[in-house]
Symmetry: C2
Subunit: 267 residues, 2 copies
């Protein structure tokens, strides 16, 4: 992102319009601060019920915020005015039988009458709450994508959707970790409290310096790794389900909603 980037000061609706017009091509991290950004999953109607069950059974990795009003409807009125899920994200991913085939800028050529969109909570929301409390988020201070790891913790399956939980990792001093657990507990709609801390091998992670997604971050002496359930989990379930045709956001290129992050706090 360049200095003086005009997107920095745009409201969510303006950002969505810029993406729709092809003028926003960068990741959405740091844009529209204060507003909820979402993971997006688009699947055919005949998979929708099972996927909704999968989200409900695994609310920590898959916190469902909104679903298409009906199949083929590309709006998401629960999350913002005039959202068009086909165009309002800067970059998408196309999955065929669980295999990534393409990263299109929009889905106008792909959208079908049986498409159902699911918007899931994303870690940006709780990271903002942690930073507001004075905590350091290592992936942000080091300017990299958060490191994510496949674990040996199974999700509860639903129809063809199954797989292990993927976690994101942020290292903190124990005192800050306790505070982070308290703050994130207020935000169950964006993964909530961490699900593990400390020894990564206990959840099947061999090396913290070799993430399955994102990039490694440094861990200082006396810091412990904290592991949050991660929105990449549904993407892995999608791969495992081998859905004939599906679409997601591209990592870091999220749906920017009109919903304030603070509105997600349960207390």
């Amino acid at each position: 992102m360049t200095v003086g980037d005009p997107h920095k000061s745009m409201a969510p609706k303006q950002l969505r319009l810029a993406a729709r017009q092809g003028n926003l091509t960068e990741p959405t991290s740091g844009l529209a601060p204060g507003f909820v950004q979402c993971n997006l999953v688009i699947i055919p109607q005949n998979y929708a019920s099972d996927f909704a069950d999968f989200c409900r059974r695994n609310p920590k990795p898959c916190p469902l915020l909104a679903v298409s009003p009906e199949p083929g409807d590309f709006s998401l009125p629960e999350l913002g005015a005039d959202i068009d899920v086909r165009t309002d994200l800067p970059r998408y991913r196309r999955w065929e039988n669980g295999v990534l085939t393409e990263e299109p800028d929009h889905l106008l050529d792909h959208w079908a009458d049986d498409c159902v969109a699911f918007a899931l909570g994303c870690s940006f929301s709780f990271e903002e709450a942690l930073i507001a409390d004075g905590l350091e988020i290592r992936n942000i201070s080091e300017g990299v994508n958060v490191p994510m790891f496949r674990t040996n913790l199974p999700c509860i399956s639903a129809g063809p959707f199954a797989g292990n939980v993927v976690v994101s990792m942020r290292p903190m001093k124990p005192k800050d970790a306790i505070r982070a657990i308290q703050i994130c507990t207020r935000f169950p709609a964006v993964h909530g409290a961490p699900i593990h801390f400390g020894d990564p091998t206990q959840i099947g992670i061999e090396s913290l310096q070799d993430p399955d997604f994102g990039e490694a971050v440094s861990i200082a002496e006396h810091e412990v790794p904290l592991f949050w359930a991660c929105g990449v989990t549904p993407q892995v379930a999608l791969e495992n389900a081998k859905v004939p045709l599906a679409f997601t956001h591209a990592p870091g290129y999220m749906l920017v909603s009109d919903k304030p992050n603070t509105g997600l706090a349960i207390l």
Copy 2:
């Protein structure tokens, strides 16, 4: 405690009466489940203002629940009907210039017109909440006093009252530790969330098998020690202040109040 102990089924008021009459001589742990038990500190009026400041400045180790209505008044109406702080605990400690001199059964011979009593929250309340959630409390399952340690974390001093925080330690698996942090956050009046976990040397503790107060507990593989601010902290501050004459409860022999533990939850 013997099987068929009649104290087991007594209400708080009955227990206090039994102690008053010399019929309750055992520790109060496990008695009157569901009701708040308190640490007690009794000091002369000319120290009371500083001690109240000390509690207010260090609310995690010294959560103040009630103070005598006025000097010399041995009731504590905020915590229960007809409480007599001179007699209603099974055992007391007498401190002269910060040195323990005696463990009397009552304070009838010691009470003076300038005595001010302070009742502070105690870990029994949050242990009950943790057990209700299905968590194991090691000191309870092993039937010992919780291990407590002097740390290198300084309290904020007030007048002559100063010293380092004393912590109690309970080991848990990380998943249970996260849950314990969430539950204890609801109870700031009984020490609240832990203040540290993991490496004990980070807070100045050399060996977990050598507690300064209480008894050591076993720590299983993959468990981490959690450290809570502890009600022994004010006792250490009392020693440091060298108050000419002071009284406290004897460890484990608490003031049983009429206040339900659930009433302490802030949410």
